[in-house]
Symmetry: D2
């Protein structure tokens, strides 16, 4: 068996890389850094990677919109799993320096956005120098001549500073103690992730117009089968004015009858329905199944109606 290859938003030292290893667990894998999320997904589409790990929600490193767009366009892909990583940085500096030595910080703009308040309170007056990624800033800090440095510190995920030979001037740097990013593992369609009882199904649906009535009717397809949503986002469809695209996560697995029937209902009534996979939810809490929506109840009711129809 060959070692599975995972594309991810590099370079080494990103939160995405940490998410990748969290999802891989003990499995031996090959990690392939990519310059951005679309490239990571393209590597799966063209076969140069088996999977990609990309940010899906609330990211500090960019890529949510890019992820949703890149998943929805081009060759179909599917989500195989998810993980949620708390987001707090270490503020890395050169050995021997401390907080009082910091006048500027190099970071990806999204990382900077997560720590602005902390910086203004703890090291007021510090300026921001944008970098292509936090890891790029860390490497630059470690490798460049001291005189040529454009900044004095870099934001890195916990545990990463020593890789660059850097020290940690402050840990747990974050404006919100609850900041977290959800990452998903994406692969080619058709891979089979069996239901666990605590699953999510990710869908993209287009609605013909912006009427609350159209959205209501779409949500009723879930409600009458007792399926709840844990995420819903609307976006205008750029080249079709007035049409909206909804990206959402439903609680349940396509192999559960209530989810399957809801998706059939969407497919019948919406101009576009994309299935982006059924996979175990990171939280692991069993999906509540309300009365009348279990697989057994669906099968019993279907069987009863079959006896009425086939005679």
């Amino acid at each position: 068996m060959t070692t599975p290859r995972y594309a991810y938003l590099g370079p080494s030292g990103t939160f995405t890389e940490a998410a990748l290893y969290a999802m891989a667990g003990d499995e031996e894998i090959e990690a392939l850094p990519a310059v951005d999320v679309p490239t990571a997904l393209a590597m799966v589409r063209d076969g140069s990677a088996d999977y990609a790990v990309v940010a899906m929600e609330n990211t500090v490193e960019g890529g949510v919109t890019a992820t949703l767009d890149a998943l929805a366009e081009g060759e179909p892909l599917e989500i195989y799993g998810e993980t949620v990583m708390p987001i707090a940085f270490d503020l890395a500096v050169r050995e021997g320096l401390g907080l009082s030595d910091i006048g500027s910080i190099g970071a990806h703009p999204h990382a900077w956005a997560q720590v602005r308040r902390w910086v203004s309170e703890v090291v007021p007056g510090t300026t921001f120098v944008p970098a292509a990624s936090n890891a790029a800033a860390a490497r630059q800090l470690a490798e460049q001549e001291f005189e040529s440095l454009a900044f004095d510190a870099a934001l890195v995920p916990p545990g990463v500073a020593p890789r660059y030979g850097l020290a940690v001037a402050a840990g747990a740097v974050a404006d919100s103690v609850n900041a977290a990013t959800r990452f998903v593992k994406v692969g080619p369609p058709g891979g089979f992730v069996a239901p666990t009882g605590a699953d999510k199904t990710t869908l993209v649906v287009h609605l013909p117009n912006d009427q609350s009535g159209a959205l209501l009717r779409m949500l009723e397809q879930f409600a009458v089968r007792g399926v709840n949503l844990s995420r819903i986002e609307s976006r205008p469809i750029s080249d079709r004015p007035g049409e909206y695209s909804f990206s959402m996560d439903a609680l349940g697995h396509i192999q559960e009858a209530r989810v399957a029937e809801a998706v059939v209902g969407l497919k019948r009534t919406c101009p576009v329905v994309l299935f982006l996979g059924s996979y175990p939810a990171a939280h692991g809490e069993p999906t509540p199944v309300i009365a009348g929506t279990s697989d057994l109840e669906f099968e019993a009711a279907n069987e009863w109606v079959r006896t009425l129809r086939d005679r």
Copy 2:
């Protein structure tokens, strides 16, 4: 082949009998008068009749509530067809008499309720004498000694007066020119009436409580599949306080996918669901099928979801 036996609310000369012959068409049948609707239905249940014809809506001869109750309780029965009869009476009198001779009218109370206003305007002062049926009043009028008569005229369906040797003092006697009654043909379950594209499906459903939310959710089972209702009636369930029984007609046939899936939804979520048959609608107008609810669209969407599930 044996001649089919039809039970109906007798005696001969009722609107129900006229409905029976309207539905039988050219077929040779045996008509079996019954004393009331529950008895007519019981004759089907115990095999002493093949079918029953009973009033279902807007009756002038009673029996709607009785019909709904008697259909819902006991051995299952199914509706095979329906017809709608306009309701207007002939006012029958003894030969040689006219409107000015009428001081009292014998009739079933329900018939009387349909003509009260006409009587007060055309033959004011006339009193009402209740009879077990209109036909019983007509027979009494024809057969008794003149002196012993309790009334001077009887209300009978059009064309029936001559059978009793009676004359017609006035025709088209009705308070509403649109009065009509819907009759259904009822038989044992399992008889197969194929879809015509203009069908009704009659159902009885119990809801757990009187909340508008519970009714809303029940109706959503129809709405998400594009199924309309042409009749809905609620009644408290006598021995379960707080529970309600809904009797309704849905437009469509159980062998159409959108009706079948709606009935599956009811079966899953309501404590009681009775299927009382799918049969051609009397009006003959094809059921409108909105986008996304045709059998082809259901099959295509189900097939697509099957490919997602089975791999």
Copy 3:
């Protein structure tokens, strides 16, 4: 102060009369028997009575459909109160006779419908002789010559037999131990019954067509304000094919904000809305008020929006 005059479905000795006295309590009243429900209501409309007491649901003496129709047509009337009477008869016979002497029973057809099973089990073979009312049968039994009697017993409300000088051959005669009829007190509009916290509001609403969507939207007017229904009935509108009339009881009082706003919603969107009164519910149980629908919450939210609008 003049004694209030109450019209009711007579003659003396009907369940309606019993309901009338149940609702009047200790108040001194004048009871005016009417020949039928429309007449009783007409007496209020023309001023010959102050109120009428009529059956509204589940009656044994007829009049439900007549009540709903007569309330909805003509000069406006309003409901001032309701009471629910258990329905079980005494089987009245001439002094000295018993169950074994009964070969036929005189009764209103609706009363007969409530006891058919009991009769077939307890005095099998007994035949039914229709009467204009149960009281008419009782009076005939008491007053006519024995030889001229058309029947041997009459069905009367509990306690009524002695009024006619009759004995009770059997009590609690009923097919269902839970049989009950709901009666309402009706008067001219504008009488003020203050909210008690346990009220009903009766409405008649027309919908433009038979679509489940139209019914759904009507019910949503209640649901978004947290108003529940305790009764809903649909009937085709005879002279406007395809239109439906819904009669319903909502839990709550028109002077409560959530009911008022729901009725505003109906008025805006339905071709016909009739308000038939807000009055104390017979059951006396306080209406459950879900979060966000109390008068205080309505007032607070309205006040907040007023501050946004008026500036």
Copy 4:
């Protein structure tokens, strides 16, 4: 009268600046560049600016999430207007250079995300150098020594290159011909923008949980008043797990009855409702008003119900 001061995402030369002048029209204003969106909004809150212009949807310069968050938190602000700017860049270079001289491009990462495909097709092999803003890249290109330049070209809004003494190597640089960003003008609450008949109302609402039922009920508050949404986005609330925040634009003005009643409904039933302003829609198309939802119909229905309540 003093000149109004507008804060915006600077420096001079951003799309936000172009949007600012598009909204100001002929009015004389003072434009105050801010380092980021939260800062621009903070300047309105602390009085150092009268208004701020910030990106709200589909931005190429970042700030959408920041805008929504910064609007929702802290002292209340309100939206006074919106404009939609097509997004296509000029690729600016030093005088005398052309496309073939470009090996790297300096740009804000969000701008880069909008042109990646164009770049890979037209100038393949070109690398990306992140900048704090596009304008910063342009200024650096114009001002630095040629030898010290980290990149050869900059992405700038149309018409901006000459300000920096730069030439345009290519115009209309964009991956999507329909790319556009929506900008809003934000000020202190209480400023009055009268209804035009073509308005939007922006709201933020929290739902107690992630159930599709809760979202359905929220949307029903709009649907029963005939109010449509042109945007809806959900986001988890970071410090209250399981709660969701919905940001949305409703078509209509808070001073229209149907919008006001819908907002009252939200206020009653949702734990948090923020009103972010009613203002003219950029598209200028009159809001469709369906039957039963005009101000006149609301007022007539309210008046009718008032007559029922007040007596």
